[in-house]
Symmetry: C2
Subunit: 207 residues, 2 copies
DNA sequence: TGACAATACGAACCAGAACTCATATTCATT
DNA sequence: AATGAATATGAGTTCTGGTTCGTATTGTCA
């Protein structure tokens, strides 16, 4: 009765590299076949381990995905807002700031398009995933709002809170569809237009 | 051998009201439980018919959904662009035009949020659905582009094609998230800001 | 009303994926 | 080398939902 707790953690990194192998395999398959289209067995096979081992490390497919997600979260926002904050303090023009925002946003978004698609789909079908993404979104909005506050004297918008939301949503949507869907228009033109939109909307004098 | 084709159409409106019942039932359930969460059996039960009858009218769940979609498509764009075209010809201000666009876009978007969610999710997971929605999107862009062409002298943007895309994507994204996600900001404020964004971006002199 | 076709029914079947667990293997230790 | 614990295995079980098809019911027409 001394350590009855030992068995309460069935999944846990026994072997750190096996865990990695499973996560890498899952990323490849989720990217290629989607979430529903990927079975636990397939992930195990791709990783070169048995299905039993899969369940030793993850309680199910979704936990695996959430763990993958968690890995890539956080670093992203820090990077974007770090650069953005610097530019703002350096007195960059509105247009420069917006171009930076677009570039940063694009750079930090998921490269594997299929994986991004999985995330976008799951946010509408899975409650945990929705909560997770909403929390991320909220964090992003808070930081964006803070930046707008600093910029306040130079802005033409008055409702900064709404502006932050609109801008974040619009940027995200355009970046996503540039990654996920076939587009008639080349990325560069799209990104130029996006930056232009942000600048014209936010700033009294964009240049 | 005269009409060997007779049996090649297993599903077809034998009884028009039974078809309706099935579609209405499906809309309710898709809205409440999502697409994956709704079984063919449940739809049949909700409609008060047997599972066998279900398969007499629809070859599967997805065809049922596509039929529901097809019903609601088309009318929508006509409505929006009809009003918008009128306003443009009447020489309305940029801000007025944008407010109209927001209102029309909101009014014509799916009311049942769950159903909208189903559509948004499926566009990332189902190829047929993606193609369908892309075609719709393309049609919308063409019409929007035509309007921008008429407005050309009053615009500040130069790349009208990119502007149409950005605008459509941004409007859609904001409207969707207003419908589908819980929002900290009230709809009216959001819509005001959205119209303001469009006006400031597009027009040399919004008022 | 009898006979035939059209329509509706739902139990039974099938497929495929999640998850378990008794057995096998590996590894550290003495 | 022997022992025991940690780790890995994968055939087998369970569950769930899609789909079929033989039977029952209804409707029509002569």
């Amino acid at each position: 009765m001394s350590n009855e707790k030992a068995t309460r953690t069935p999944r846990q990194a026994r072997s750190i590299e096996k865990r990695r192998r499973l996560m890498d395999a899952a990323m490849r398959l989720f990217d290629r076949d989607g979430f529903e289209g990927t079975t636990a067995k397939a992930v195990a096979r791709e990783a070169g381990v048995s299905i039993g081992t899969f369940y030793a490390y993850f309680s199910d497919k979704k936990e695996l995905l959430m763990d993958i997600l968690a890995e890539h979260t956080g670093e992203v926002h820090h990077l974007v807002f770090g650069k953005l904050g610097d530019a703002v303090r350096d007195g960059a023009s509105g247009r420069e700031i917006m171009r930076l925002a677009v570039a940063a946003g694009h750079a930090t978004h998921w490269q594997p398009p299929g994986l991004l698609r999985v995330l976008l789909a799951l946010r509408h079908t899975d409650d945990d995933m929705r909560r997770f993404q909403e929390a991320e979104e909220r964090a992003l909005l808070t930081r964006l709002h803070a930046i707008l506050k600093i910029l306040a004297p130079r802005l033409r918008v008055t409702d900064r809170e709404a502006a932050a939301f609109i801008l974040a949503t619009a940027f995200e949507a355009v970046l996503h569809s540039a990654i996920v869907f076939e587009q008639d228009i080349e990325r560069e033109r799209l990104f130029d237009a996006l930056a232009d939109m942000g600048a014209a909307y936010l700033f009294a004098d964009p240049d």
